[in-house]
């Protein structure tokens, strides 16, 4: 092995957090790899090949290898990757070695569900506070946490360092909540409200919008429908495809 100045030294984070700046696309896939790796570990595998892991994560094996190579990963040629080590590596890079505190704002329909979602806890996060602007909701207990008023954010932030804010309010309130989050030092926001947030530089926003996902699927439905109507480029306007839909197969897998 040459020098391989392995970047993050998960074994011991001495004082050189040389985070390689990964391509954004790679970052977006790492969590998927991580989940697949945990599954493999639970199933008792100690090593896994790029082929095996990529299948479990639903990607191309070359892509997987390139992704892992970006974080200076340790695989052994002829053998594969050490599952436990790789988990450690990825968790380190993703900053999951510390359990980050999440503030959830908006305990309505969706927020309520998120508050009860166990995927938070099981994947490296801890809901530190539930907040809502509606006084009638304040005081309600959900999943062991008491809902506080959103104006208490400064207090909450003083109690513990909030890393991430989740906005699950109606669109109309989202921008104001975002401002409040930013004001108390939150620099990462996950926004479920269907609107664009404007935040200062240095603050990351990711958006999840249910309706958008559905509309994208709708487009592909529409497309598939119109394709079965006019099958090919050439002539032959109709194929009818009566009852069955059979094997209309064309490739798929929508890019993220």
């Amino acid at each position: 092995m040459s020098q391989h100045r392995h970047p993050g030294a998960p074994g011991r984070a001495g004082a050189v957090p040389t985070l390689p700046d990964l391509p954004e696309a790679t970052v977006a896939r790492l969590p998927e790899y991580l989940r697949a790796l945990h599954n493999l570990a639970d199933a008792g595998h100690e090593t896994v090949s790029s082929e095996g892991l990529s299948a479990a994560a639903g990607v191309n094996s070359a892509k997987l290898r390139k992704d892992l190579s970006h974080l200076g990963s340790y695989g052994t040629r002829g053998v594969g990757y050490d599952v436990a080590l790789l988990i450690e590596q990825i968790e380190y890079v993703l900053g999951l070695t510390q359990r980050r505190a999440v503030a959830l704002v908006g305990v309505g329909n969706l927020g309520h569900a998120l508050a009860g979602y166990d995927g938070f806890a099981s994947r490296g996060f801890r809901i530190a506070a539930l907040l809502d602007a509606d006084p009638s909701r304040v005081g309600e207990e959900i999943n062991g946490l008491v809902v506080r008023h959103v104006d208490d954010l400064p207090t909450v932030a003083a109690e513990e360092s909030l890393a991430i804010g989740v906005i699950a309010t109606p669109a109309a309130a989202a921008q104001q909540v975002a401002d409040q989050l930013v004001a108390v030092g939150v620099t990462s926001i996950l926004n479920f409200a269907p609107c664009v947030l404007s935040v200062p530089e240095g603050v990351d926003v990711r958006k999840v919008d249910l309706a958008i996902e559905l509309q994208i699927l709708s487009f592909h439905e529409h497309r598939k429908a119109s394709l079965t109507a006019l099958p090919a480029t050439g002539g032959t306007a109709f194929t009818a495809l009566p009852g069955g839909f059979a094997a209309t197969d064309t490739q798929e897998a929508i890019g993220t």
Copy 2:
């Protein structure tokens, strides 16, 4: 420009559904434009410039223009885009002229919230059925819909043509549900379960995973933290930003 054989003829879908095959990246943004356009329409605007619309949708104006140009859009130079017309265009392309029926499988924590989410109805979709595998949940009424057993899927599909299936079950059940959905002819699936689904060609799957989003944010947090540790080029490691944070608005917008 020459003929502008405008693609979808939203006015009248005569018999030529010449869906242009849009770049996937464009498709993913169209819903955002659509939402922004609806806001503008509600605010009374009749036309909007690419600059204005792109700001409302949180993208670059050149990108917006190129996106719209792909669907053979109608803007007027020197004026802008006709809001109502553009809405019609985009809705047509996305296949939203018909209200698509959605089957929601898994009425647990998250599924319950989704069932009550009004963004479904308001943005072109209709929940046609709630399904669950747990017999103790069958019969429960949510938001005016009665939960049926997932094995009734064939019956449900016979009653009305299901376009899209939403999976909100635990990961362990997701693949089986997906198989069942595919078996009754569903060709688009929105998967909230944290696992990879394998489906036949021709079936589109989109995945939404809360924990993944958080982990991506976590990476950027980690990164920002390690950058402030080694201030590097800029200098001034700390800006403190006491109370105020001013209006530095440049949104971040992480690539999807």
